[in-house]
Symmetry: C3
Subunit: 364 residues, 3 copies
Amino acid sequence: MPVLLNPDRAPTLSELLRAIPGGLVQKIVPGTDQWENPRIAGIGSLVNAGPNEISFIVHPKYLDQLALTQACAVIVLPEIDAQLASCTSTQSFARVVCKHPYLLYARIAQWFEWARQSARETTIHPTAVVDPTAVLAKSVTVGPHVVIGPRCKIDAMSVISAGCVIGADVEIGASSVLHPRVSIYDGVKLGARAIIHSGAVLGADGFGFAPDPTLARGAWGKIPQLGSLIIGNDVEIGANTTVDRGALENTILEDGVKLDNQIMIGHNCHIGAHTAMAACVGVAGSTKIGSRCTIGGASMISGHLTIGDDVHVSGGTAITSNVTKPGRYTGVFPFAEHIEWQKNAAVLQQLSTLRKRLRKLEKE
Amino acid sequence: MPVLLNPDRAPTLSELLRAIPGGLVQKIVPGTDQWENPRIAGIGSLVNAGPNEISFIVHPKYLDQLALTQACAVIVLPEIDAQLASCTSTQSFARVVCKHPYLLYARIAQWFEWARQSARETTIHPTAVVDPTAVLAKSVTVGPHVVIGPRCKIDAMSVISAGCVIGADVEIGASSVLHPRVSIYDGVKLGARAIIHSGAVLGADGFGFAPDPTLARGAWGKIPQLGSLIIGNDVEIGANTTVDRGALENTILEDGVKLDNQIMIGHNCHIGAHTAMAACVGVAGSTKIGSRCTIGGASMISGHLTIGDDVHVSGGTAITSNVTKPGRYTGVFPFAEHIEWQKNAAVLQQLSTLRKRLRKLEKE
Amino acid sequence: MPVLLNPDRAPTLSELLRAIPGGLVQKIVPGTDQWENPRIAGIGSLVNAGPNEISFIVHPKYLDQLALTQACAVIVLPEIDAQLASCTSTQSFARVVCKHPYLLYARIAQWFEWARQSARETTIHPTAVVDPTAVLAKSVTVGPHVVIGPRCKIDAMSVISAGCVIGADVEIGASSVLHPRVSIYDGVKLGARAIIHSGAVLGADGFGFAPDPTLARGAWGKIPQLGSLIIGNDVEIGANTTVDRGALENTILEDGVKLDNQIMIGHNCHIGAHTAMAACVGVAGSTKIGSRCTIGGASMISGHLTIGDDVHVSGGTAITSNVTKPGRYTGVFPFAEHIEWQKNAAVLQQLSTLRKRLRKLEKE
């Protein structure tokens, strides 16, 4: 891990922990010698952290790595701390005792992310094309070659990075960040503290067509997508993800939804609060997904379904019917060496026959 | 559904239907009282339409919703109209009788889409960089920060939105719309009335490499993609979809092809007229797909295959061999609760053995 | 195939072959009459090549096509050449004898690609916004509306096409080409001779969140992604592909990796040299893939796995556990007519019961 801060800008361990909100730290056990209260220039894994970095151990199975770490301070679970305290440990790192080491790591990483950012200029770049009827708070930053349409409203502290194109009547809440080259179509509403990654397209037309034989045999007539897309607060959307606008109603992402890269959310979908989806998931139109779900990477969810709260879908699974009961659901074809797969896959297409033969034997 | 038009701009029902082409309307049954010929400010579903909106019912199973709708006018099938006429209905909405309610809905939505658009300025934005050898019809609109390369030809009424980058020798037919941030590589030809959504990339290099051990063990030498991409009329392409150029021949999308978001069409593919693909489909190189096919979301189609006309592939299916017979094809692993899936998936890898054991029993 | 060069600019066969490096050509057998040493204006398949084009035959199964080709010259395997020489062939094309016809085709295509490109202007377009602290070699080309951030280093001969946005501290090696509208986040390093297609996003945040109940029930706290993305030499990345930066360490693509369109590589992944992935593959975070692997289209690979060298994954396969042994691996549900699939899929969910019933019968 590259050192994040110059040593002279690095805080001491106690300074750093004072800057972290949330009362997560239970106890600090000073390290030995120069590591009593070391300067912390960065954060790294047990294996890769250097002597001016803090690390963390989330599970006793990593005790081997802990024994070899070079980190000057380590976040540990209380039970690991007790174990280290009882043996006459040869390790000299400081220990930060905490019941939620992973969350404390996240918070410390947030601090370093903030600390390494250079002061941002709050300006509208002269190459940006901002419609005169758009209303931008004074603290909004607009990058080069951005386009902002008529009657948009962008709240305080938000950042619209280079090359973003924002249509008419779009609203963006406070402290949101659009990374470069995001597209937002007309009328989309985005809450506060959104993070939208490069290449994401929000509010493009849903896929709506009616068979129109008057045009040609088999031809499709376009159904204009008159609904919009409404996104709550604290939503993160990954690179090249697309979320379509609704046909008649709106597509909705509730507060705290987290979408990874290259996800596709169809028109009229409604995704509940704090539901997280890994990359490459596709959700077909008009499906309603509850709150606090996790959807594994490359899953697909058919259209017009209802998925309840607290449903967890394994990666690569196709959900083709409603799921009302919380729990974990899976449907993945197990891989094998090709020749083995061939043998078994051949039988797959005779399963129904096989069952009949078995029944017959049972009756005999 | 938000009201689309200010009431003073909203047409009456009879004015609206006169503006819809196609002779789809069989009969209009006036509503009662102020709904004899109501002003129609928008269109909504039965459940969500407000009292100044028109709605539609496509199937008798929604009669419950019809009973509760607030819409001032409803498009109904003749048989539903007959049913409503026979009972002494308490409902006061006007009825528009039509054999194809869904298509009429599409046409009315098209009218509202047109009506709500503000008059477009036909200009070339001063920040656009248009090569002096490009030929643009006078009625073409070019947005901010667009780049148009040498010798391009863009026909009447087309719109190239902000941030699009168009290479050399590209041709775009009349009345086509490129939404913001579309890329078109050199030499691609696009027909009339195309709709290309944001982030789409048309004509990028196909994935072609020859093993080249002279570079390094296992190394790949690039095969330049010398073909192009030819797209017919009335084609719609979704957000972040990619269609590659051909290696030696051209990749071809025929008239009326509709591609949803995040689809990938490999080099040298040929997609027949009016074939529609839902989101996240991947078609590998050199595959030929017939006309009027529908390909469900997240399906994949292997390379070098021939898929005939009128083939319908269920979502999530992998098509790995030719399909000559029209019909519906499926291959999806059924999902289940994880623990159930585990039990059954384990047996999957012994299917061939299971069959042998069954055979043995049968012989005994 | 469109003719690539005007006949007066087309080289003769012998001139063309002299321009191809690598000593691949074993022998040239002149054609008859005017095709003794014909001018070669382009390259085409056996079926589509015209009389001023060269073609190639890679396998005897295409001898039928060879008999009908109009090409004036054909690259042939030695054994096919022997066969043609022995019979009193009526064919008049020149023969280029070569043990690796496909590789020679690739090299000739490279020559035509080079020959048809117009001389490139080496300029920084006046609309580009280049930070004054960025260091660009003199021979670098920067297109319209490009944005290049502070302290970037771009080496000789590289081309940054229109609409690309490059963050701070990015390094790009010599002779690399970024097609239009590529995003590169801060701190990413890219080797020499890279080809990055339109819409690709390199170095966006990985998908990292820690449960943070202090925010709300089920809420996720962001883990800033402090690592970077390091890409070797000779890497090609397809349109709209995304490769995320690391959480604490770096994501790494080694030399010669080839990624097709719409691929997603998660944070902390390490992809070995000369590994090639077809379109729509997803690789979840922290997975290590060896060298010289090929990953078929629309495959997915779970996170935290180790895949060895020389592993070949069939398209559409989900790899959910480590693969240490070289070989080909598959896991695809075979498709069938829908009604057949339904019958067999129903049994799939009783497999474990079926096995029990079989065991019972065997014991009787």
